[in-house]
Protein backbone atom coordinates (compact mmCIF):
# COMPACT_ATOMS: atom_id res chain seq x y z
CA UNK A 1 0.00 0.00 0.00
CA UNK A 2 2.55 2.54 1.11
CA UNK A 3 4.91 1.46 -1.65
CA UNK A 4 2.29 2.10 -4.29
CA UNK A 5 1.49 5.51 -2.83
CA UNK A 6 5.08 6.62 -2.64
CA UNK A 7 5.70 5.45 -6.20
CA UNK A 8 2.62 7.41 -7.31
CA UNK A 9 3.78 10.52 -5.47
CA UNK A 10 7.31 10.33 -6.81
CA UNK A 11 6.07 9.89 -10.36
CA UNK A 12 3.84 12.96 -10.11
CA UNK A 13 6.56 14.99 -8.36
CA UNK A 14 8.81 14.63 -11.37
CA UNK A 15 8.45 17.81 -13.45
CA UNK A 16 8.58 16.18 -16.95
CA UNK A 17 5.94 13.61 -15.97
CA UNK A 18 3.77 16.30 -14.35
CA UNK A 19 4.12 18.51 -17.41
CA UNK A 20 2.86 15.76 -19.71
CA UNK A 21 0.30 14.09 -17.46
CA UNK A 22 -1.39 17.20 -16.06
CA UNK A 23 -2.49 18.50 -19.46
CA UNK A 24 -5.55 16.19 -19.84
CA UNK A 25 -6.50 16.77 -16.19
CA UNK A 26 -6.46 20.51 -16.78
CA UNK A 27 -8.82 20.03 -19.72
CA UNK A 28 -11.19 17.86 -17.68
CA UNK A 29 -11.29 20.48 -14.92
CA UNK A 30 -11.87 23.26 -17.46
CA UNK A 31 -14.81 21.45 -19.10
CA UNK A 32 -16.44 20.52 -15.76
CA UNK A 33 -15.96 24.07 -14.49
CA UNK A 34 -17.54 25.58 -17.63
CA UNK A 35 -20.57 23.28 -17.42
CA UNK A 36 -21.00 23.72 -13.65
CA UNK A 37 -20.73 27.52 -13.79
CA UNK A 38 -23.24 27.61 -16.68
CA UNK A 39 -25.74 25.44 -14.77
CA UNK A 40 -25.09 27.30 -11.51
CA UNK A 41 -25.62 30.71 -13.13
CA UNK A 42 -28.83 29.53 -14.82
CA UNK A 43 -30.07 28.08 -11.54
CA UNK A 44 -29.04 31.11 -9.52
CA UNK A 45 -30.11 33.90 -11.87
CA UNK A 46 -33.30 32.39 -13.37
CA UNK A 47 -34.62 29.43 -11.42
CA UNK A 48 -34.05 30.47 -7.81
CA UNK A 49 -36.94 32.58 -6.41
CA UNK A 50 -36.26 36.19 -5.36
CA UNK A 51 -35.43 36.63 -1.70
CA UNK A 52 -38.39 37.85 0.36
CA UNK A 53 -36.33 40.62 1.92
CA UNK A 54 -33.62 41.41 -0.60
CA UNK A 55 -35.53 40.78 -3.86
CA UNK A 56 -33.21 40.02 -6.75
CA UNK A 57 -30.30 41.77 -5.08
CA UNK A 58 -29.30 38.62 -3.23
CA UNK A 59 -28.30 36.88 -6.48
CA UNK A 60 -24.76 38.24 -6.24
CA UNK A 61 -24.40 35.56 -3.54
CA UNK A 62 -23.71 33.07 -6.33
CA UNK A 63 -20.40 34.80 -7.05
CA UNK A 64 -19.64 36.29 -3.64
CA UNK A 65 -19.93 33.22 -1.40
CA UNK A 66 -18.12 30.68 -3.64
CA UNK A 67 -15.30 33.24 -4.08
CA UNK A 68 -15.07 33.64 -0.31
CA UNK A 69 -14.91 29.86 0.14
CA UNK A 70 -12.23 29.66 -2.57
CA UNK A 71 -10.19 32.43 -0.96
CA UNK A 72 -9.98 30.38 2.24
CA UNK A 73 -9.51 27.04 0.47
CA UNK A 74 -6.60 28.33 -1.64
CA UNK A 75 -4.80 29.65 1.42
CA UNK A 76 -5.02 26.18 2.98
CA UNK A 77 -3.84 24.79 -0.36
CA UNK A 78 -0.78 27.10 -0.17
CA UNK A 79 0.01 25.89 3.33
CA UNK A 80 -0.36 22.20 2.37
CA UNK A 81 1.86 22.73 -0.69
CA UNK A 82 4.34 24.54 1.56
CA UNK A 83 4.40 21.67 4.06
CA UNK A 84 4.91 19.09 1.31
CA UNK A 85 7.64 21.23 -0.25
CA UNK A 86 9.44 21.82 3.06
CA UNK A 87 9.21 18.29 4.45
CA UNK A 88 9.80 16.13 1.38
CA UNK A 89 11.68 18.83 -0.58
CA UNK A 90 9.40 18.38 -3.57
CA UNK A 91 10.04 21.36 -5.81
CA UNK A 92 6.83 20.81 -7.72
CA UNK A 93 4.85 21.63 -4.57
CA UNK A 94 6.50 25.05 -4.44
CA UNK A 95 5.73 25.59 -8.11
CA UNK A 96 2.08 24.72 -7.40
CA UNK A 97 1.98 27.18 -4.47
CA UNK A 98 3.59 29.87 -6.57
CA UNK A 99 0.98 29.23 -9.28
CA UNK A 100 -1.92 29.23 -6.81
CA UNK A 101 -1.11 32.34 -4.73
CA UNK A 102 -2.14 34.99 -7.31
CA UNK A 103 -5.35 33.03 -8.06
CA UNK A 104 -6.18 33.07 -4.36
CA UNK A 105 -5.48 36.80 -4.16
CA UNK A 106 -7.78 37.32 -7.16
CA UNK A 107 -10.63 35.34 -5.53
CA UNK A 108 -10.17 37.40 -2.36
CA UNK A 109 -10.33 40.61 -4.39
CA UNK A 110 -13.52 39.34 -6.14
CA UNK A 111 -15.04 38.59 -2.71
CA UNK A 112 -14.24 42.09 -1.49
CA UNK A 113 -15.57 43.80 -4.63
CA UNK A 114 -18.80 41.76 -4.84
CA UNK A 115 -19.24 42.20 -1.08
CA UNK A 116 -19.00 45.99 -1.49
CA UNK A 117 -21.43 45.97 -4.42
CA UNK A 118 -23.85 43.88 -2.38
CA UNK A 119 -23.46 46.10 0.68
CA UNK A 120 -24.41 49.28 -1.18
CA UNK A 121 -28.13 48.44 -1.75
CA UNK A 122 -28.50 46.34 1.42
CA UNK A 123 -26.63 48.36 4.06
CA UNK A 124 -26.59 51.68 2.20
CA UNK A 125 -22.78 51.92 2.03
CA UNK A 126 -20.00 50.31 0.05
CA UNK A 127 -17.87 49.50 3.05
CA UNK A 128 -18.51 48.82 6.71
CA UNK A 129 -15.87 47.69 9.16
CA UNK A 130 -17.69 44.48 9.74
CA UNK A 131 -15.61 41.63 11.13
CA UNK A 132 -16.00 39.28 8.18
CA UNK A 133 -15.26 41.95 5.56
CA UNK A 134 -12.27 43.00 7.62
CA UNK A 135 -10.95 39.46 7.96
CA UNK A 136 -11.29 39.00 4.19
CA UNK A 137 -9.31 42.21 3.71
CA UNK A 138 -6.62 40.89 6.08
CA UNK A 139 -6.58 37.63 4.12
CA UNK A 140 -5.96 39.70 0.99
CA UNK A 141 -2.98 41.35 2.68
CA UNK A 142 -1.71 37.92 3.77
CA UNK A 143 -1.82 36.76 0.14
CA UNK A 144 0.07 39.87 -0.95
CA UNK A 145 2.68 39.23 1.76
CA UNK A 146 3.23 35.63 0.63
CA UNK A 147 3.52 36.71 -3.02
CA UNK A 148 5.85 39.61 -2.18
CA UNK A 149 8.09 37.45 0.01
CA UNK A 150 8.41 34.65 -2.55
CA UNK A 151 9.48 37.16 -5.21
CA UNK A 152 11.95 39.21 -3.19
CA UNK A 153 14.79 36.67 -3.08
CA UNK A 154 17.33 36.29 -5.85
CA UNK A 155 17.52 32.58 -5.11
CA UNK A 156 14.22 31.03 -6.18
CA UNK A 157 14.44 28.16 -3.69
CA UNK A 158 15.00 30.47 -0.72
CA UNK A 159 12.01 32.55 -1.77
CA UNK A 160 9.84 29.44 -2.21
CA UNK A 161 10.69 28.06 1.20
CA UNK A 162 10.40 31.38 3.05
CA UNK A 163 6.97 31.95 1.45
CA UNK A 164 5.98 28.39 2.42
CA UNK A 165 6.77 29.08 6.10
CA UNK A 166 4.78 32.33 5.97
CA UNK A 167 1.85 30.52 4.33
CA UNK A 168 1.84 27.85 7.04
CA UNK A 169 1.94 30.42 9.86
CA UNK A 170 -0.72 32.42 8.04
CA UNK A 171 -2.94 29.35 7.69
CA UNK A 172 -2.79 28.84 11.45
CA UNK A 173 -3.70 32.51 11.86
CA UNK A 174 -6.53 32.56 9.28
CA UNK A 175 -9.07 30.65 11.43
CA UNK A 176 -8.18 32.89 14.39
CA UNK A 177 -8.87 35.94 12.24
CA UNK A 178 -11.90 34.32 10.61
CA UNK A 179 -13.63 33.21 13.82
CA UNK A 180 -13.28 36.69 15.23
CA UNK A 181 -16.67 37.14 13.56
CA UNK A 182 -18.23 35.06 16.31
CA UNK A 183 -16.64 37.21 19.02
CA UNK A 184 -17.20 40.41 17.22
CA UNK A 185 -20.75 40.05 15.85
CA UNK A 186 -21.76 43.11 13.89
CA UNK A 187 -23.77 43.99 10.81
CA UNK A 188 -22.89 41.02 8.65
CA UNK A 189 -25.52 38.35 8.19
CA UNK A 190 -24.79 34.97 9.73
CA UNK A 191 -22.75 32.29 8.02
CA UNK A 192 -24.58 30.08 5.53
CA UNK A 193 -23.68 26.87 7.31
CA UNK A 194 -23.76 26.59 11.07
CA UNK A 195 -22.77 23.76 13.36
CA UNK A 196 -20.20 21.06 13.05
CA UNK A 197 -20.09 19.13 9.77
CA UNK A 198 -18.31 16.21 11.42
CA UNK A 199 -21.02 15.17 13.89
CA UNK A 200 -23.91 15.46 11.46
CA UNK A 201 -25.33 18.66 12.94
CA UNK A 202 -24.58 20.82 9.93
CA UNK A 203 -27.67 22.80 9.03
CA UNK A 204 -28.40 25.80 6.91
CA UNK A 205 -30.88 28.65 6.84
CA UNK A 206 -30.91 28.86 3.03
CA UNK A 207 -33.88 27.31 1.13
CA UNK A 208 -32.94 24.30 -1.03
CA UNK A 209 -34.09 26.04 -4.24
CA UNK A 210 -31.57 28.80 -3.54
CA UNK A 211 -28.89 26.51 -2.15
CA UNK A 212 -28.27 24.03 -4.96
CA UNK A 213 -27.12 26.64 -7.52
CA UNK A 214 -24.69 27.89 -4.88
CA UNK A 215 -23.17 24.44 -4.43
CA UNK A 216 -22.97 23.92 -8.20
CA UNK A 217 -21.25 27.30 -8.55
CA UNK A 218 -18.81 26.25 -5.85
CA UNK A 219 -18.03 23.04 -7.76
CA UNK A 220 -17.50 25.16 -10.87
CA UNK A 221 -15.16 27.53 -9.05
CA UNK A 222 -13.18 24.60 -7.59
CA UNK A 223 -12.71 23.06 -11.04
CA UNK A 224 -11.87 26.48 -12.48
CA UNK A 225 -9.16 26.77 -9.84
CA UNK A 226 -7.97 23.23 -10.64
CA UNK A 227 -7.70 23.99 -14.36
CA UNK A 228 -6.01 27.35 -13.81
CA UNK A 229 -3.53 26.15 -11.20
CA UNK A 230 -2.43 23.20 -13.37
CA UNK A 231 -2.06 25.48 -16.37
CA UNK A 232 -0.05 28.05 -14.42
CA UNK A 233 2.05 25.39 -12.67
CA UNK A 234 2.95 23.89 -16.04
CA UNK A 235 4.24 27.27 -17.28
CA UNK A 236 5.96 27.80 -13.95
CA UNK A 237 7.96 24.55 -14.06
CA UNK A 238 8.84 25.17 -17.72
CA UNK A 239 10.24 28.58 -16.73
CA UNK A 240 12.09 27.12 -13.76
CA UNK A 241 13.60 24.24 -15.70
CA UNK A 242 14.44 25.99 -18.96
CA UNK A 243 18.06 24.86 -18.64
CA UNK A 244 17.07 21.18 -18.74
CA UNK A 245 16.74 19.04 -21.85
CA UNK A 246 13.11 18.05 -21.48
CA UNK A 247 11.91 21.63 -20.99
CA UNK A 248 13.81 22.88 -24.04
CA UNK A 249 12.28 20.04 -26.00
CA UNK A 250 8.81 20.89 -24.70
CA UNK A 251 9.03 24.51 -25.86
CA UNK A 252 10.68 23.51 -29.15
CA UNK A 253 14.02 25.19 -28.41
CA UNK A 254 17.18 23.63 -29.85
Amino acid sequence: MSGRWSRWIHRWASPPYFYRASRPWGRVFAVVSFVAIAIGLYGGLWLAPPDFQQGNGFRIIYVHVPSAWMSLFIFVFLAVCGLIGLIWRIKLAHAMASAAAPIGAAFTAITLVTGSLWAKPMWGTFWVWDARLTSELILFFLYLGVIALSRSFENQQTGDRAAAILAIVGAVDVPIIHYSVDWWQTLHQGAIFRGNPFDGHLHTTVAPSMLWPLLVMWLGFMCYFGALVLWRARSEILLRQLDTGWAREAVGAP
Binding site: A148, S152, A162
Partner: protein, 219 residues
Protein backbone atom coordinates in the same frame (compact mmCIF):
# COMPACT_ATOMS: atom_id res chain seq x y z
CA UNK B 1 21.44 28.26 29.27
CA UNK B 2 22.15 31.04 31.76
CA UNK B 3 25.37 31.78 29.94
CA UNK B 4 23.55 32.14 26.65
CA UNK B 5 20.94 34.49 28.09
CA UNK B 6 23.57 36.49 29.97
CA UNK B 7 25.67 36.88 26.84
CA UNK B 8 22.65 38.03 24.88
CA UNK B 9 21.67 40.61 27.48
CA UNK B 10 25.28 41.84 27.79
CA UNK B 11 25.47 42.31 24.03
CA UNK B 12 22.24 44.28 24.05
CA UNK B 13 23.46 46.45 26.91
CA UNK B 14 26.68 47.29 25.08
CA UNK B 15 24.78 48.31 21.95
CA UNK B 16 22.12 50.17 23.94
CA UNK B 17 22.16 53.16 21.59
CA UNK B 18 20.62 50.99 18.85
CA UNK B 19 17.72 50.08 21.09
CA UNK B 20 16.84 53.64 21.99
CA UNK B 21 15.57 54.56 18.53
CA UNK B 22 12.41 52.36 18.62
CA UNK B 23 11.51 53.79 22.03
CA UNK B 24 11.90 57.34 20.75
CA UNK B 25 9.85 56.36 17.69
CA UNK B 26 7.10 55.04 20.00
CA UNK B 27 6.88 58.18 22.13
CA UNK B 28 7.20 60.45 19.09
CA UNK B 29 4.37 58.80 17.14
CA UNK B 30 2.10 58.98 20.20
CA UNK B 31 2.81 62.71 20.54
CA UNK B 32 1.78 63.30 16.92
CA UNK B 33 -1.87 62.31 17.53
CA UNK B 34 -2.77 65.27 19.78
CA UNK B 35 -1.02 67.57 17.30
CA UNK B 36 -3.06 66.20 14.41
CA UNK B 37 -6.42 65.73 16.14
CA UNK B 38 -6.49 68.60 18.61
CA UNK B 39 -5.90 68.55 22.36
CA UNK B 40 -9.46 67.75 23.51
CA UNK B 41 -9.10 65.37 26.50
CA UNK B 42 -12.40 63.61 25.73
CA UNK B 43 -11.40 62.75 22.17
CA UNK B 44 -7.90 61.70 23.25
CA UNK B 45 -9.09 59.36 26.00
CA UNK B 46 -11.54 57.89 23.48
CA UNK B 47 -8.87 57.04 20.90
CA UNK B 48 -6.12 56.22 23.43
CA UNK B 49 -6.38 52.37 23.35
CA UNK B 50 -6.27 52.33 19.58
CA UNK B 51 -3.41 54.80 19.39
CA UNK B 52 -1.30 52.94 21.96
CA UNK B 53 -1.90 49.61 20.21
CA UNK B 54 -1.13 50.77 16.70
CA UNK B 55 1.89 52.65 18.03
CA UNK B 56 3.20 49.61 19.94
CA UNK B 57 2.65 47.37 16.89
CA UNK B 58 4.51 49.74 14.56
CA UNK B 59 7.34 50.28 17.03
CA UNK B 60 7.71 46.50 17.47
CA UNK B 61 7.86 45.94 13.71
CA UNK B 62 10.52 48.62 13.38
CA UNK B 63 12.45 47.31 16.38
CA UNK B 64 12.49 43.63 15.42
CA UNK B 65 13.44 44.13 11.79
CA UNK B 66 17.08 43.67 12.73
CA UNK B 67 16.81 40.99 15.42
CA UNK B 68 18.85 38.44 13.45
CA UNK B 69 20.52 40.87 11.02
CA UNK B 70 23.80 41.31 12.94
CA UNK B 71 23.99 37.57 13.66
CA UNK B 72 23.58 36.92 9.94
CA UNK B 73 26.16 39.52 8.90
CA UNK B 74 28.93 38.52 11.31
CA UNK B 75 28.42 34.78 10.97
CA UNK B 76 27.18 34.03 14.49
CA UNK B 77 24.01 32.61 12.94
CA UNK B 78 26.09 29.78 11.45
CA UNK B 79 27.56 29.20 14.91
CA UNK B 80 24.06 29.02 16.38
CA UNK B 81 23.14 26.38 13.80
CA UNK B 82 26.28 24.37 14.57
CA UNK B 83 25.70 24.59 18.32
CA UNK B 84 24.64 21.35 20.03
CA UNK B 85 21.69 23.18 21.59
CA UNK B 86 18.47 23.05 19.57
CA UNK B 87 18.05 26.11 17.39
CA UNK B 88 14.49 26.57 18.69
CA UNK B 89 15.86 27.10 22.21
CA UNK B 90 18.42 29.65 21.01
CA UNK B 91 15.63 31.45 19.16
CA UNK B 92 13.56 31.49 22.34
CA UNK B 93 16.45 33.01 24.34
CA UNK B 94 17.00 35.57 21.59
CA UNK B 95 13.28 36.42 21.64
CA UNK B 96 13.27 36.81 25.42
CA UNK B 97 16.35 39.05 25.33
CA UNK B 98 14.68 41.01 22.53
CA UNK B 99 11.52 41.40 24.58
CA UNK B 100 13.46 42.68 27.59
CA UNK B 101 15.44 45.17 25.56
CA UNK B 102 12.89 46.35 23.00
CA UNK B 103 9.37 45.70 24.30
CA UNK B 104 9.73 46.19 28.03
CA UNK B 105 10.55 49.90 27.54
CA UNK B 106 7.35 50.24 25.50
CA UNK B 107 5.32 48.66 28.32
CA UNK B 108 7.00 50.79 30.97
CA UNK B 109 6.38 53.96 29.00
CA UNK B 110 2.68 53.18 28.59
CA UNK B 111 1.72 55.03 31.83
CA UNK B 112 3.35 58.15 30.37
CA UNK B 113 1.25 57.79 27.23
CA UNK B 114 -1.82 57.13 29.38
CA UNK B 115 -1.12 60.44 31.12
CA UNK B 116 -0.86 62.28 27.79
CA UNK B 117 -4.15 60.81 26.62
CA UNK B 118 -6.06 61.58 29.85
CA UNK B 119 -6.54 57.92 30.58
CA UNK B 120 -8.50 57.07 33.75
CA UNK B 121 -5.81 55.73 36.20
CA UNK B 122 -7.89 52.77 37.57
CA UNK B 123 -7.58 50.86 34.28
CA UNK B 124 -3.80 51.16 34.18
CA UNK B 125 -3.33 47.53 35.39
CA UNK B 126 -5.51 46.22 32.54
CA UNK B 127 -3.48 48.35 30.11
CA UNK B 128 -0.18 46.97 31.43
CA UNK B 129 -1.28 43.30 31.50
CA UNK B 130 -2.68 43.43 27.99
CA UNK B 131 0.40 45.30 26.75
CA UNK B 132 2.71 42.64 28.23
CA UNK B 133 0.76 39.87 26.45
CA UNK B 134 0.50 41.88 23.23
CA UNK B 135 4.20 42.74 23.09
CA UNK B 136 4.99 39.08 23.87
CA UNK B 137 3.05 38.01 20.78
CA UNK B 138 4.54 40.82 18.71
CA UNK B 139 8.09 39.90 19.77
CA UNK B 140 7.56 36.31 18.63
CA UNK B 141 6.02 37.45 15.35
CA UNK B 142 8.80 39.99 14.90
CA UNK B 143 11.42 37.27 15.36
CA UNK B 144 9.71 35.21 12.67
CA UNK B 145 9.54 38.17 10.31
CA UNK B 146 13.16 39.04 10.96
CA UNK B 147 14.21 35.43 10.29
CA UNK B 148 12.17 35.29 7.06
CA UNK B 149 13.75 38.46 5.68
CA UNK B 150 17.26 38.15 7.16
CA UNK B 151 18.91 37.47 3.80
CA UNK B 152 17.29 40.47 2.12
CA UNK B 153 18.83 43.90 1.84
CA UNK B 154 15.56 45.82 1.38
CA UNK B 155 13.43 44.24 4.07
CA UNK B 156 12.31 47.39 5.85
CA UNK B 157 9.17 47.84 3.74
CA UNK B 158 8.50 44.13 3.30
CA UNK B 159 8.52 43.30 7.00
CA UNK B 160 5.43 45.34 8.01
CA UNK B 161 3.59 43.88 4.99
CA UNK B 162 4.30 40.39 6.32
CA UNK B 163 3.74 41.03 10.02
CA UNK B 164 0.85 43.46 10.35
CA UNK B 165 -1.83 41.13 8.90
CA UNK B 166 -0.65 38.31 11.18
CA UNK B 167 -0.77 40.61 14.20
CA UNK B 168 -4.39 41.76 13.76
CA UNK B 169 -6.02 39.30 16.24
CA UNK B 170 -3.60 40.48 18.92
CA UNK B 171 -4.44 44.09 18.11
CA UNK B 172 -8.19 43.38 18.23
CA UNK B 173 -8.18 41.66 21.61
CA UNK B 174 -5.56 43.87 23.24
CA UNK B 175 -7.30 47.12 22.36
CA UNK B 176 -10.70 45.53 23.07
CA UNK B 177 -9.72 44.62 26.65
CA UNK B 178 -8.72 48.20 27.39
CA UNK B 179 -11.85 49.52 25.68
CA UNK B 180 -14.05 47.29 27.86
CA UNK B 181 -12.21 48.35 31.01
CA UNK B 182 -12.61 52.00 30.01
CA UNK B 183 -16.39 51.51 29.76
CA UNK B 184 -16.47 49.83 33.18
CA UNK B 185 -17.06 46.33 31.77
CA UNK B 186 -15.26 43.09 32.59
CA UNK B 187 -12.11 42.90 30.42
CA UNK B 188 -11.23 39.31 31.32
CA UNK B 189 -12.56 37.52 28.22
CA UNK B 190 -10.35 39.35 25.69
CA UNK B 191 -7.43 39.07 28.15
CA UNK B 192 -7.87 35.29 28.34
CA UNK B 193 -8.04 35.06 24.55
CA UNK B 194 -4.93 37.23 24.35
CA UNK B 195 -3.13 34.92 26.79
CA UNK B 196 -4.22 31.90 24.72
CA UNK B 197 -2.86 33.54 21.58
CA UNK B 198 0.41 34.28 23.35
CA UNK B 199 0.88 30.65 24.45
CA UNK B 200 -0.06 29.40 20.99
CA UNK B 201 2.56 31.73 19.50
CA UNK B 202 5.07 30.68 22.16
CA UNK B 203 4.56 27.03 21.22
CA UNK B 204 4.63 27.35 17.44
CA UNK B 205 6.62 30.40 16.38
CA UNK B 206 10.11 29.40 17.67
CA UNK B 207 9.81 26.28 15.49
CA UNK B 208 8.81 28.34 12.44
CA UNK B 209 11.55 30.90 13.16
CA UNK B 210 14.19 28.18 13.40
CA UNK B 211 12.96 26.76 10.08
CA UNK B 212 13.14 30.24 8.52
CA UNK B 213 16.71 30.70 9.77
CA UNK B 214 17.69 27.35 8.23
CA UNK B 215 16.11 28.48 4.95
CA UNK B 216 18.01 31.78 5.10
CA UNK B 217 21.32 29.93 5.50
CA UNK B 218 20.30 27.40 2.84
CA UNK B 219 20.87 24.31 4.94
Amino acid sequence: MNGLLGAQLRMIYRARGDYLAPVIFYVLVASLFPLALGPSPRLLSLIAPGVIWIDATLASVVAFAGLFRDDYDDGSLEQMLLSPRPLELIVLVRVFAGWVSLSLPLVLLAPLLALWFSFPPPILPVLLVSLVLTTGCLTLLGALGSALTVGLRHSLVLLPVLLLPLATPVLIFGAHAVLLAERGLDPRTPLYVLAALFFLALALIPKATAAALRVALEV
